[in-house]
Amino acid sequence: MKKNILGIFILLVAIFVITAMINPKFLNAYNMQNLIKWSSLYAVMSLGVAFVIITGGIDLSIGSVVGLVAVVLSICLKLEGMDPWSAIGITLALSLLIGFLHGVLITKAKVQPFVVTLCGLLVYRSMGRWLTDNQSIGPIPLEGDAGYANLEQIQGLDFVFSGKIAIGSFNLPTPAIFLFVLCIAAAIFLRRTIWGRYLFALGNNEEGTRYSGIDTDRMKILAYVLCSFFAGIAGILFAFELDSVQPAQTGEFYELYAIAAAVLGGCSLRGGEGTVLGVVIAAAVIRLIYNSINMVGISTHLEFGILGLVILLGVIGDEFLKKTVARKQAAQKA
C-alpha cells in the first residue's frame, strides 16, 4: 500500500520542484493558498468516487450532481429565502437521495453502474437547467431577492465554505479544513470500521462477501450514497467558492477529474484497492499541473494533453514501481 503512495508522492514533488525552479513566484503564499483551495475542492469529489471504485463500481454523474446541488442550493438561499441551514440540509439530502437511487438501481434493478450513472449525468444536468431556466444563479442573495433578509447568515455560510482563516501570515482556505475532516473520517471509515472492511471485501469478491453473511447490496448502496454525498458537499463548496452557478456548465467533466485522481491515486477500477491519502495526493497533482501550466506560461491548448500524459505515465510508472519492488522482494526470498 505504501508503494502506491510513494509513486504519486514523487510525482507531486517533482512537478512542484520543477515549476518552482522555472517560476519562483509559484511558491508565494497567495499561490499556495489557491493551490490548496482548488486541490481541496476537487479532492473532496475524488474521495467520494473512491468509495465507489473500491467496490468495483463507477460514478459518471458526479459532475452533474455538483451542478444540480449548486443550483438547488442557490435557488433555496437566493430565490426562496429559505433558512440557510435548512437549505444546506435540503441540498445534502438531495445528494443522499441521488446516491441512494443509484445504489438501488444498481443492486436491485441490476443495471450496470456505468449505465445508471451515465443516465444520471444526463438527467441531473437537464434538471439543473430546467429548474433555473438556465439562468446563472448564485447562492448569495442580492437586493430584491427573497433571501436578502438572511444575507448576514448566508455570508456567514459563505465564510464557512469559502473563507480563509489566518494562521500567522498564511491564510488557510476553509475547504482545506473540510477536506481534512472528510479525509480523516474516510480513512477511519475505510480502515477501522466493519463497513469499510466490507467495501474492500466486496470489491474483491462480491459473492464470497455475500456468503459471509454480509448484505452486499446494502454496502454497495452505501458506497454510492457516500459518493453522491461527497459530490454534494463539493457542490456546496463550489457554489460558495464561485458565487455563481451556470446550470449548463458548472461541474461538467468533473467526474473525469475525480475518477482520474482516484485511479492515479492507486484505486484499481477492478475494485478492492485504494487509499485515502493516495487519492488526495493525486487530486493535488492534477490541480498542480493546471497551476504549473499557468505559472510556466504554456499554451492553454496543451493543458488537457499534458494532464492526460501525466496520468498515463503516472499509472504506468506506478505499475512498474510495484513490479520492481515485488521482484526485488521475491529475489530476496529466493
Binding site: I188, F200, N204, E207, S212, G272
Partner: protein, 502 residues
C-alpha cells in the same frame, strides 16, 4: 450417539429449479446432533444446491425445512448463521485483498467502540488457523496463498463461527494428504463436541473413514441411505450410478516409444531457485505426485507456455522449442487440460460447440472464414467419443456438470490430435462414473501412442494410472518412481522432502 434424539436438522420434499434445470425434485435429508453425514452423488445430482439452501445462500422453491423441530425459511446467510449452520463452499470464496484474520472473521468482526478490534481478531484467528494446521502469519494476504491453503482458511473461517452444523462441500478437493488428515482430525473432534457435519465428497475412501451415515442423491432425488457397516465402496457406487462399477483402474502395460517431451534444467517463476528435468515417452502415462503447492501446476503451465521458463530447455520430439505462450505449445502438439477448469479450461457462457471447436477453429478455417461443417464434425466427434451428456451441441457449458465440462476440455484437445496430453488434476470434483470414463480414455490414448503427463493429488489415481511417476517437493523433482516402485509410502516419503527413495 444421536440415534434416539430427534434430528437436529431435517428437510423433506425440497424442490428447487433454475431457469431450464430442475435441480432438486423433492429431496429429503436428516441430521442428528454430533453426526457426520456424508452426502454423495454424481456431478449435478443437486448436492451443492441443497447445501446452499440449508445455508441461506438461496431459497428453496417448496418443501419442509426444520431445525430442532421448528420450521424455518432462511432469507439470508445470516438467518442460517443464527441457527448455527455454516457452509464451506465448493468454490473458494475468500477475499484476495484481505489478510487471513480479516477473512476468517469477515462479517463477524469483533468491535470495540464501533471500530474493528484488530488485536482480538488476530488473536482469535490464530487459534482457528492453528486448528486447521496453517502456520502462516495472520497478516498474510489471502490472495497470495495457493488454493489448498486458501481452502484451509475457509475451513478455519467456518469453524470460527461456532456453528452447530458445519457443511463441507468437497473440502479436500484441493488439499494434500497431510492437510486432509489434519482436516479429518478436526471433523472427528467436532463430532466429539456434539457438532454435526455434512460432508460432501467424491472420494469414497474419505467417506468410509469419516461417515456415520451416508445419503446418496441421484438426479435431484434421494437414491438411498447407508449406515454403519453398509458403508462400503460397492454399496455407494451402486446407489450413485444405479449399477456395479467393478474394475476401476483398467490398466494395461504400455509399449513406450520414443521420447516426446524432454524437460531439461527448467526453472519456473514460482521457484526461480530450483530447476527440474523430466521426460515422457510416447505411449506412456506419467504421473506427477506431490503435496499441494509443490509446483506441479506451475510446471505444466511452463511446458504449455503460459508462464515461460526462466531457464532451461524444453524439447518436443527432439525439437527445441521456445515456449513463451500457449500458441507455440499447441502448434508443437501439446495440450493441457488445466487444473482450474472454469477459469482456464472453458469459456463458460459459450456453447458446447463453441468451446469444443475453439482451438481447432483456426486450423479448419478457410482464410479466416468459419468452417461450419468442420466445426460441427469436431463437436459431434467430441460429444460422441467423450460421451458428453448434453441436450444439444448448443447447450451453454456453464449448465453442464463438472464431469461433462471436463469432457469438453478433453474433447477440444483431442480434436487437435496432440502428441503430448497434459492433465492437471483431471478428475478433481468429478463423479465416479465420469472419472472412470476419463481413465479409460487415458488408457485408450496411450494405447494409440500419445504421451500423457498428469498431475494428481489423489494417491489412488497415481498408483492406479501411472506407468511411471515423478514426485515433486517445493519446486524440485524429489524422485522418480517406476511402476514397481510406486507405493503410498514411497510417494509420501519423497513428497514430504525425504530424498531417500524408499
Amino acid at each position: 450417539m444421536g440415534a434416539v434424539s430427534s434430528p437436529y436438522l431435517e428437510v423433506k420434499e425440497l424442490r428447487k429449479s433454475f431457469p431450464g434445470v430442475l435441480a432438486l425434485k423433492g429431496v429429503s435429508l436428516s441430521l442428528a446432533e454430533g453426526e457426520v453425514l456424508a452426502l454423495i452423488g454424481e456431478n449435478g445430482a443437486g448436492k451443492s444446491t441443497l447445501m446452499k439452501i440449508l445455508a441461506g445462500v438461496q431459497p428453496a422453491d417448496e418443501g419442509d425445512f426444520q431445525v430442532k423441530g421448528e420450521a424455518v425459511s432462511f432469507r439470508s446467510v445470516n438467518d442460517a448463521m443464527d441457527k448455527g449452520i455454516a457452509l464451506i463452499h465448493q468454490e473458494l470464496n475468500l477475499c484476495g485483498n484481505l489478510d487471513l484474520a480479516s477473512n476468517v472473521f469477515l462479517g463477524r468482526e469483533p468491535t470495540r467502540g464501533g471500530l474493528i478490534d484488530e488485536p482480538t481478531m488476530r488473536r482469535e484467528a490464530r487459534k482457528y488457523l492453528d486448528l486447521v494446521g496453517l502456520d502462516l502469519p495472520v497478516e498474510t494476504i489471502a490472495g497470495s496463498l495457493p488454493i489448498g491453503k486458501q481452502q484451509l482458511v475457509e475451513i478455519a473461517k467456518a469453524l470460527s463461527s461456532n456453528a452447530r452444523v458445519l457443511i463441507m462441500d468437497e473440502p479436500t478437493s484441493s488439499l494434500s494428504q497431510k492437510e486432509t488428515e489434519t482436516l479429518f482430525g478436526v471433523v472427528k473432534d467436532l463430532r466429539e463436541k456434539g457438532i454435526s457435519v455434512i460432508y460432501i465428497s467424491h472420494r469414497l475412501g474419505e467417506v468410509i473413514e469419516l461417515a456415520d451415515r451416508v445419503t446418496v442423491f441421484r438426479d435431484g432425488e434421494n437414491a438411498g441411505d447407508l449406515a454403519g457397516d453398509e458403508i462400503n465402496h460397492n454399496n455407494m457406487v451402486k446407489l450413485m450410478v444405479g449399477r456395479d462399477l467393478s474394475e476401476f483402474y483398467d490398466r494395461k502395460v504400455h509399449e513406450s516409444g520414443s521420447i516426446v517431451l524432454n524437460v531439461d534444467q527448467v526453472c519456473t517463476p514460482a521457484f526461480p531457485a530450483s530447476s527440474l528435468s523430466l521426460e515422457v515417452k510416447s505411449g506412456e502415462i506419467v504421473g506427477i505426485a506431490g503435496l499441494v503447492g509443490a509446483g506441479r501446476t506451475e510446471l505444466l503451465q511452463t511446458i504449455f507456455g503460459v508462464t515461460p521458463a526462466l531457464a532451461g530447455t524444453i524439447e518436443i520430439c527432439g525439437e527445441l522449442l521456445a515456449l513463451d505462450n500457449p500458441r507455440t505449445a499447441i502448434k508443437a502438439g501439446i495440450a493441457l487440460a488445466p487444473e482450474d477448469r472454469k477459469q482456464h479450461g472453458l469459456v463458460l457462457p459459450m456453447s458446447v460447440r463453441e468451446n469444443t471447436s475453439l482451438p481447432s477453429l483456426k486450423r479448419d478455417a478457410n482464410r479466416g472464414w468459419l468452417n461450419d461443417a468442420a466445426e460441427a464434425k469436431v463437436t459431434n466427434t467430441a460429444v460422441k467419443s467423450m460421451k458428453i451428456k448434453t441436450p444439444t451441441n448448443e447447450q451453454i457449458a456453464r449448465f453442464l456438470s463438472g464431469g461433462n465440462q471436463q469432457k469438453i476440455v478433453l474433447g477440444k484437445w483431442l480434436a487437435m490430435k496432440p502428441k503430448l496430453l497434459m492433465l492437471d488434476e483431471p478428475t478433481r470434483g468429478i463423479d465416479i462414473g465420469a472419472k472412470r470414463e476419463i481413465y479409460k480414455l487415458m488408457e485408450k490414448l496411450a494405447g494409440e501412442g500419445m504421451a500423457i503427463l498428469f498431475v494428481s493429488s489423489e494417491m489412488e489415481e497415481i498408483l492406479g494410472m501411472a506407468d511411471r511417476a515423478y514426485v515433486m517437493h517445493e519446486g524440485t523433482i524429489a524422485g522418480e518412481l517406476d511402476r514397481d516402485q510406486l507405493s503410498e509410502e514411497s510417494i509420501m516419503h519423497l513428497a514430504t522432502g525425504n530424498l531417500v527413495a524408499a
